[in-house]
């Protein structure tokens, strides 16, 4: 069966969601993953969008985080201050999705700058909601293509906390969320080990450990039980292609 890297990452991300999860959704692949999960194994998924929309039922593909389709038919709308306090800081969000220009060995994320902060080589968009989502959502999932430049051993700038330097460094800060629980790439899935280090936990069909290592900036370990992810189901691909993103904007 033919499928794109984006479809593969979306479908594998959808599988990580549980029914009744409250998810802080971002546009692009996270939005597709959540809507796919909601139409398959997680019908009671509650989708919250950073713009302040709770229980969204988007009738069309949202093209920005504040797309009007998110509001029409939603359960509630609130201010930005409320979405970050009543929902996220208070601990009402189960899952947050994140991306990043750089993700390091301990799941720390950089979306701020490449090079020196005050004299940036490449200025990236910055945190947006990423800093607080990474800290306060119960579980975080990261979706990103597996490329060497995206997986350095250390990020240039800690925009959002993973497990910091590993060990109990994150726990010691007292932040409420459990941190990154999986990084879904086009080659497989990385998960934190007991020390908070991202290790290869699964490979997608036809992908190899060598490929993953060649695209990772640290000596990649394998999880004790390495899995191969099931190939995307035909029905999942149909929903993505026919219902969710018929113009193939993100997939």
């Amino acid at each position: 069966m033919n499928y794109s890297a984006s479809e593969l990452m979306t479908i594998n991300s959808a599988r990580l969601l549980r029914d009744h999860d409250v998810v802080f959704v971002g546009v692009g692949l996270p939005n597709l993953a959540c809507n796919l999960a909601q139409r398959t194994h997680a019908p009671n998924l509650l989708m919250i969008y950073e713009a302040g929309v709770i229980g969204a039922r988007p009738a069309r593909l949202p093209l920005s985080i504040g797309d009007p389709t998110l509001v029409s038919g939603a359960a509630a709308v609130c201010s930005m201050y409320e979405i970050f306090t009543l929902y996220l800081q208070r601990g009402n969000v189960d899952v947050g999705f994140l991306g990043g220009a750089q993700i390091d060995q301990f799941g720390n994320i950089n979306v701020t700058v490449i090079g020196d902060y005050n004299h940036p080589k490449v200025r990236l968009p910055g945190s947006g909601g990423s800093m607080e989502i990474a800290a306060w959502a119960n579980r975080c999932y990261i979706i990103t293509p597996h490329q060497l430049r995206r997986f350095p051993a250390r990020v240039d700038f800690h925009t959002s906390a993973g497990f910091l330097d590993g060990g109990d460094a994150r726990a010691k800060t007292g932040v409420r969320g459990a941190g990154p629980q999986a990084v879904v790439t086009n080659l497989g899935i990385l998960k934190p080990d007991a020390n908070g280090e991202l290790v290869l936990a699964a490979l997608h069909p036809g992908c190899s450990f060598e490929q993953a290592q060649a695209n990772t900036g640290w000596a990649l370990k394998q999880a004790e039980t390495m899995e191969v992810t099931p190939a995307p189901a035909e029905e999942d691909l149909r929903i993505l292609r026919e219902e969710l993103d018929p113009q193939r904007i993100y997939i």
């Binding site: 920005s64 504040g66 709308v77 930005m80 910055g126 947006g128 906390a161």
Partner: protein, 300 residues
């Protein structure tokens, strides 16, 4: 008391060189017409504050209006990089002050609430805190643990676009309500732009929907389609193709200058701009009605 005036008069009166300006709206209701009028009037050295500078500040920076930008996400939402702001920062030509969304909005909340600072829980990510000295830590006197604090943001002027308001500035918004209320209460002056100016009785028929009370408003301007290429919920759609087009336009200074010449300096006001957009674009942005069920306030 009527505060009705033209947008050009409101900008002349309440936006001065060097001011801190907050053009409100998280993706929704961004007052582009006001940004364009500021450009036309040639304001300089502004401090532009918004969580997401969006294309409105990219254009104002391109036109030379800004000295500094205060932000929490400099991307072209849904598209990618916000090229001009990014280039100016990389080149060291634009000062910047950076937050996360939550700390940016907390600053506005503190400003709106008259607080000296506002606390937030720690996030374990400390690099931005180190880079921006406005972030501080204080000890929570109850638990003894440290919390992060930021100071209030009190812009000189907030510009807020709304679906409808009356002539004295009692304003109603629906859809994404971002930070409009906080911006209005935090600012020293408030300029409202509205899709519709309605009778006071319309506002009073649904007081729960009023986000900004007229007594904190300085100027009320009737500016239909003010938000394009952003949108007004229920009135017109977001012009996503334009957000993509800007990505291309903003690749070269020549294309940016040509855009500003044609669409900002080359038009007198928003009405002329909207007509110039053409029938096809206007048609594409039309939105079918979806009416809410009325509520009963009761006759007491």
């Amino acid at each position: 008391m009527t505060k009705l005036t033209t947008l050009s008069e409101a900008i002349r009166q309440y936006v001065h060189d060097g001011d801190c300006v907050f053009a409100a709206g998280f993706t929704h209701l961004i007052p582009f017409a006001a940004g364009h009028e500021i450009i036309r009037q040639g304001r300089k050295n502004l401090v532009l504050a918004r969580a997401t500078p969006d294309l409105i500040y990219d254009q104002m920076v391109a036109a030379g209006c800004a000295r500094k930008i205060i932000f929490s996400y400099i991307g072209n939402p849904g598209v990618g990089s916000l090229r001009i702001v990014r280039q100016e920062i990389e080149a060291g030509r634009l000062e910047w002050e950076e937050y996360s969304h939550f700390s940016m909005i907390s600053r506005l909340q503190a400003g709106a609430a008259g607080l000296p600072f506002i606390p937030m829980n720690q996030t374990a990510a400390t690099d931005l805190e180190k880079a921006n000295p406005q972030y501080k830590r204080v000890v929570d006197p109850y638990s003894g643990r440290e919390v992060i604090v930021v100071p209030p943001l009190n812009p000189d002027v907030a510009i807020v676009h709304v679906q409808r308001c009356d002539a004295s500035g009692n304003a109603q918004i629906w859809g994404i309500i971002g930070e409009q209320k906080e911006a209005a209460f935090a600012a020293r002056h408030v300029i409202l732009t509205a899709e519709e100016i309605v009778d006071e009785e319309v506002i009073r028929s649904d007081p729960n929907r009023t986000v900004i009370p007229g007594f904190i408003v300085d100027a009320v301007c009737h500016v239909p389609y003010c938000a394009h290429p952003s949108y007004t919920q229920g009135y017109y759609d977001r012009d996503n193709p334009f957000y993509l087009a800007w990505d291309k336009i903003s690749e070269t200074p020549e294309a940016v200058k040509a855009y500003l010449d044609e669409w900002v300096y080359g038009v007198k006001d928003r009405e002329e701009y909207w007509q110039k957009l053409g029938e096809e674009t206007r048609k594409r942005l039309e939105v079918a009605p979806r009416i809410s069920s009325p509520v009963n306030y009761g006759q007491y």
